[in-house]
């Protein structure tokens, strides 16, 4: 029975992957001015890295790599032709999106930091520095990689709720991770759907269509090793990497960084992301909290920060302004 279950789950993942690619291709067809290309890198280790490429609509635009959080598809950046990716492409940027659904992550977080992200950054930046928008835990891993394995490959960084100092996870998140990280499978039952919504969308202003698409093709089951690694990180409060713990690497992190802190993010809580400023004193981190208190239409969640109804007017301008910023050189501000 168990192998059959696994096969069915694998089949489900294949179906989701196919559905997602089809949806993107259809969206691409519908938006003829926005050709979407799929790329697949194969690393010496045999691991595959899936990238989507959305060419800039103006010549000579600098590349930008968009990294969805672990367990999320590129839908958070591009849904039916709409999203931050399309806006950046329209502004002339060569947009690349890391596609976790076509990327091997059986090496766990260490493999993602050590091999997957450096390869994606090299491909997107053609060996030079590339600006990055990193989402949630995956964004934290980009920051970690940029200090060692991908040193010199990250230009400006936009960090969307990127945890760097963790606490034991909520019972809801613990349950999902202890169950092997079956995030996508949550959508198979009404109770699971409520949990999925609570983690990713609770209190956000997403259209009902987008909510539905997110549940169907926007989330992925995590590799069990990734789920285990995440749980270990959360419980211990520290991510151990081969050479040093994350907190030690952050002392070397020096990329100009915009840190966005949504109040209602239940997947990557703001309090775990905010300490980046202190832990990475060389990085000139500018933080921006997102809350209704500041006149915004919502308090923003893990997904609505990118795809909320008001995100194009309230969140993306911060991102675009930061990515337009000038020099990549960073002042030395002390050890």
């Amino acid at each position: 029975m168990r192998p059959r279950g696994r096969k069915r789950a694998q089949g489900g993942a294949d179906y989701k992957r196919t559905a997602w690619v089809l949806a993107l291709l259809l969206a691409g067809l519908a938006h003829a001015s926005m050709p979407l290309r799929e790329g697949l890198l194969t690393l010496p280790s045999g691991e595959r890295v899936g990238l989507l490429h959305l060419p800039g609509q103006l010549p000579g635009g600098a590349p930008v790599l968009l990294v969805p959080d672990l367990g999320l598809t590129p839908l958070v950046y591009l849904d039916q032709g709409r999203g931050l990716a399309a806006t950046l492409a329209a502004a002339g940027r060569e947009v690349y999106i890391l596609d976790w659904s076509r990327t091997d992550t059986h090496g766990g977080l260490e493999g993602i930091v050590g091999r997957i992200l450096p390869a994606a950054l090299r491909a997107a930046g053609d060996g030079g520095p590339v600006d990055v928008v990193g989402h949630g835990y995956a964004g934290s891993l980009v920051i970690a990689a940029s200090t060692h394995e991908a040193e010199g490959l990250v230009g400006r960084m936009v960090a969307l709720s990127t945890p760097v100092e963790l606490a034991p996870p909520s019972p809801v998140l613990t349950g999902m991770l202890e169950g092997g990280g079956r995030l996508a499978d949550l959508a198979l039952t009404p109770g699971g759907t409520r949990t999925l919504d609570l983690l990713l969308m609770d209190g956000g202003t997403l259209s009902s269509g987008l909510r539905s698409r997110l549940r169907r093709v926007g989330v992925l089951n995590l590799e069990s090793r990734v789920a285990t690694d995440l749980l270990t990180w959360m419980r211990s409060g520290e991510l151990q990497l081969p050479d040093a713990p994350l907190v030690e690497r952050l002392r070397r992190y020096d990329r100009p960084t915009l840190l966005l802190l949504p109040l209602r993010d239940n997947f990557a809580h703001q309090e775990h992301a905010a300490p980046l400023r202190e832990l990475a004193p060389r990085a000139r981190v500018r933080s921006q909290q997102l809350s209704r208190l500041d006149g915004l239409a919502e308090d923003y969640t893990h997904v609505s920060i990118l795809q909320g109804r008001h995100a194009p007017a309230e969140v993306w301008p911060h991102i675009l302004r930061h990515l337009r910023g000038p020099a990549l050189q960073v002042e030395e501000v002390g050890p």
Binding site: L198, L199, Q270, E271
Partner: protein
């Protein structure tokens, strides 16, 4: 001398009638907003600080079988002791007393029935945050120790009440066994545009001012509680505090703010949690605190967002615990700033956890 009178003109008559009608309407709207009575078992003690102010310290005796140390409850800014003892169903003080803990509520100087500034009586206006923890806190702690014979007492601080205990303990304050802080920030420089805008008001506030927040809250009470009301956004989640309770609280638990306190704490928008003269860094001193502290944050607390409370937690030096009141963590609804003390389910969702922390025996000793 005979005052000459003349009949009012028609427009003036209309204005007068409208004014009377408005006053009548507000009066009738306020009719149900009477402050709830204090606890029948409450006994008010008048204590004196070292600098000569008289403060109100109210004792709620333990009911049933007494157990554990006395607990001092300290309110936040623009509030008074009723913050933590609102009514029979929404009072952390009465709840603790029902659990066998003797509870004491303090009104800091200038609030509740404690002395208010009166230069003629030798009580100048202009007391700041430092005065609270240097004068009022030690006076209350010593009074409770003297009254009860307890060597050390427990402490629960809401909002600024938690910040006060951070400052007090960081500067070597004694007499506390275990501590809980709820919605107590140690920095607010996270890029909030509204806090930035509020700083624009700084030039019109002087240290010697008493901001009449109590009167303003009473006038505004009948209109308070709407979903888009700025006070609602800042302070409560309507899923936890219905409008009627919030309006009644506005006429009971809100109090004046000393301009000096406001000016000192406004520096937190720039990341400074320090003494008024800037000489003592209270954030830095958190590392020296050894008293066990439970730090409670509300997921929907827009005044002290979780990251502002986490900043204290991460910097504390001794035994510490973190509690986020959020749906993901088992609460029926995410908690706002006042929901810790007025929330409909705080007595089942939060207060037992708080008491559980206080009930544990501390490992170290702080005198």
């Amino acid at each position: 001398m005979i005052l000459q009178t003349r009949p009012p003109s028609a427009p003036r008559r209309r204005s007068a009638l409208l004014l009377v009608a408005a006053v009548g309407l507000i009066g009738s709207a306020c009719a149900h907003l009477q402050p709830p009575p204090a606890a029948p078992s409450a006994v008010e003690h008048r204590i004196r600080t070292a600098d000569g102010w008289e403060l109100s310290l109210t004792r709620l005796p333990a009911m049933g079988v007494a157990r554990g140390r006395p607990v001092l409850l300290v309110h936040g800014i623009a509030a008074n002791a009723r913050n933590l003892d609102f009514d029979e169903a929404h009072s952390l003080a009465r709840w603790l007393s029902r659990q066998g803990r003797e509870a004491w509520t303090l009104s800091l100087r200038g609030t509740g029935t404690s002395d208010r500034p009166d230069p003629a009586a030798g009580r100048p206006a202009g007391h700041d945050f430092d005065t609270y923890w240097r004068q009022d806190l030690p006076a209350a702690i010593e009074a409770i120790r003297a009254q009860t014979g307890a060597e050390r007492i427990d402490y629960v601080g809401h909002s600024m009440g938690g910040m006060l205990v951070y400052a007090y303990l960081g500067q070597g304050g004694k007499g506390l066994h275990r501590v809980v802080t709820m919605g107590s920030p140690t920095r607010l420089d996270f890029g909030s545009t509204s806090f930035g805008l509020a700083m624009g008001l700084q030039p019109v506030v002087s240290a010697g001012m008493q901001l009449p927040t109590r009167s303003l809250a009473r006038m505004n009470a009948p209109l308070a509680g709407g979903a888009s009301d700025p006070q609602t956004l800042l302070l409560i989640n309507p899923e936890n505090i219905p409008t009627e309770r919030w309006q009644r609280f506005m006429v009971t638990g809100v109090d004046d703010i000393s301009g000096a306190v406001l000016l000192q704490l406004s520096q937190m928008v720039f990341g400074a949690f320090a003494s008024a003269d800037g000489a003592v860094d209270y954030r830095e001193a958190l590392a020296r605190i050894e008293t066990p502290i439970l730090v409670v944050a509300g997921k929907l607390d827009r005044f002290c967002p979780p990251m502002a409370a986490w900043d204290a937690y991460r910097n504390l030096g001794g035994e510490k615990a973190w509690l986020l009141m959020a749906r993901t963590h088992g609460a029926e609804a995410d908690y706002g700033h006042m929901d810790f003390v007025l929330g409909s389910r705080a007595d089942t969702e939060l207060w037992p956890q708080l008491l559980g922390f206080l009930d544990r025996e501390a490992g170290g000793s702080d005198g």
